[in-house]
């Protein structure tokens, strides 16, 4: 349920970021990939690959592109991220930053490769892929910072300090 909610929210954010009133570079961001990264904490590589597949397919659909290459790219990216996170036992900010960077880079690479083998003219090339990687990694950084703040706020130490301040 939480996963579905996260997918929905990420999808809404991804659509909203294409609004013309916002900074145009923001439209390259892929918040759905962050959800894929987040699932690595809950499921194994296969589960993450399935969530990547779903995220990719959704991206294909909302991007009005050929449905399929995005799904394949998402699945591969999810499996790769899950494998790397498990192998190096990543936690904290590093988990989000490396995870989002790896997910975006691998997803874009596989997507470009797939479209190339299909002899389809892709809607973006290296520059677009680079912007996607940069913006998604930046979003990962923001999430990492937010999680850090949230954990700090909820930590027993901070709770104890708040309690002492009230006394």
């Amino acid at each position: 349920m939480k996963l579905a909610l996260a997918f929905a929210v990420a999808l809404l954010v991804q659509l909203a970021l294409t609004a013309s009133q916002l900074w145009w570079v923001l439209s390259a961001c892929q918040p759905l990939l962050l959800v894929v990264v987040a699932t690595t904490r809950k499921t194994g590589p296969t589960g993450v690959a399935w969530s990547g597949l779903a995220a990719g397919l959704i991206t294909d659909v909302v991007g009005e592109r050929i449905i399929g290459p995005g799904g394949i790219a998402g699945a591969v990216a999810g499996a790769l991220v899950a494998a790397v996170v498990r192998r190096f036992e990543m936690e904290g900010p590093l988990f989000w930053i490396v995870g989002s960077l790896l997910a975006a880079a691998s997803s874009e690479a596989v997507w470009l490769l797939t479209t190339a083998t299909l002899a389809v003219r892709p809607d973006h090339a290296w520059l677009g892929a680079l912007a996607t990687v940069a913006m998604t990694a930046a979003a990962g950084l923001v999430v990492a910072a937010g999680e850090r703040i949230w954990r700090e706020w909820r930590s027993p130490t901070h709770r104890r300090r708040r309690l002492l301040r009230r006394l």
Partner: protein, 268 residues
């Protein structure tokens, strides 16, 4: 009934392969579908709302910038206004000076030819009894030149620089000028002081109050016939009458003066 159970990892590979084939098929027959129409219909309200939020944010930022610019402009205009006020005051003072100079030249047309119009730039009336003018030897001002104000004689030039000079006022303790009371042919000596006094009058001379005292030019500095002041209540010092004089020209109010050409001294 046969049940096929696939391992999840194999299943995803199969799904990916299927997607690849489907994508290839789509690539061969590219045409819009109902799905894209649906996606557009669903995403449009969200994009519209985000655009409205973005527009509102931009409006707020623009408003802030405009406010800052307006405040800066207001500050600049205030500074400019105060500068203009100062300039206006200076110009007003300049006009007043020019008018005074014009009146002065009109009042003494016979003296104006060899005279220099000067502005008072500094004054020390109470202690030093001097005023400083903005004209000096560079403009033709010479030592001992008489200085004439609109209402009467002011004093004489006692120091000259290149572009300024100092005037010793008639109220200076060391100042002296030959003069006579109008209606009285006897010449007397106006001695500086506070107030200046007319001495050298005949014994027991009777002097009417508020009578004009004019220069005679005997001391070789001041031209004859120029107003020095008016008589105040006279008093006797021994057998001689001493008459305090109210000087005609007030150095505190004078802004423009006429520096006359010095009178050629004659040997006694």
């Amino acid at each position: 009934m046969v049940r096929i159970r696939l391992r999840p990892d194999l299943a995803i590979i199969l799904v990916c392969a299927g997607l690849y084939v489907a994508a290839a098929a789509q690539a061969r027959s590219p045409q819009g579908s109902a799905l894209s129409v649906t996606v557009t219909a669903v995403s449009m309200p969200l994009v519209t709302v985000t655009n409205l939020v973005g527009q509102a944010w931009r409006d707020v930022r623009e408003g802030q910038r405009n406010l800052a610019a307006t405040l800066a402009e207001l500050g600049r205009l205030r500074r400019e206004n105060s500068a203009l006020l100062r300039t206006n005051q200076l110009l007003g003072a300049e006009v007043a000076s020019l008018r005074e100079g014009s009146r002065l030249l009109a009042a003494f047309p016979q003296l104006a030819e060899h005279a220099t119009l000067a502005r008072v730039v500094a004054r020390d009336i109470l202690r030093g009894h001097i005023v400083r003018l903005d004209r000096g030897s560079g403009e033709g001002v010479r030592l001992d030149a008489p200085v004439l104000a609109e209402k009467g004689l002011l004093g004489r030039v006692d120091r000259v620089q290149e572009h300024s000079c100092r005037v010793q006022l008639l109220s200076h303790p060391a100042a002296a000028a030959a003069g006579r009371i109008v209606g009285n042919p006897t010449e007397a000596l106006l001695m500086g002081g506070d107030p200046p006094r007319l001495t050298g009058l005949p014994p027991y001379a009777k002097v009417a109050l508020d009578t004009a005292v004019v220069s005679t030019g005997s001391e070789g500095i001041y031209p004859p016939g120029l107003l020095l002041g008016t008589t105040m209540e006279s008093r006797l010092e021994g057998i001689f009458t001493v008459v305090p004089v109210q000087l005609a020209a007030s150095p505190a109010e004078v802004t423009v003066v006429l520096v006359l050409a010095p009178t050629t001294r004659t040997a006694p």
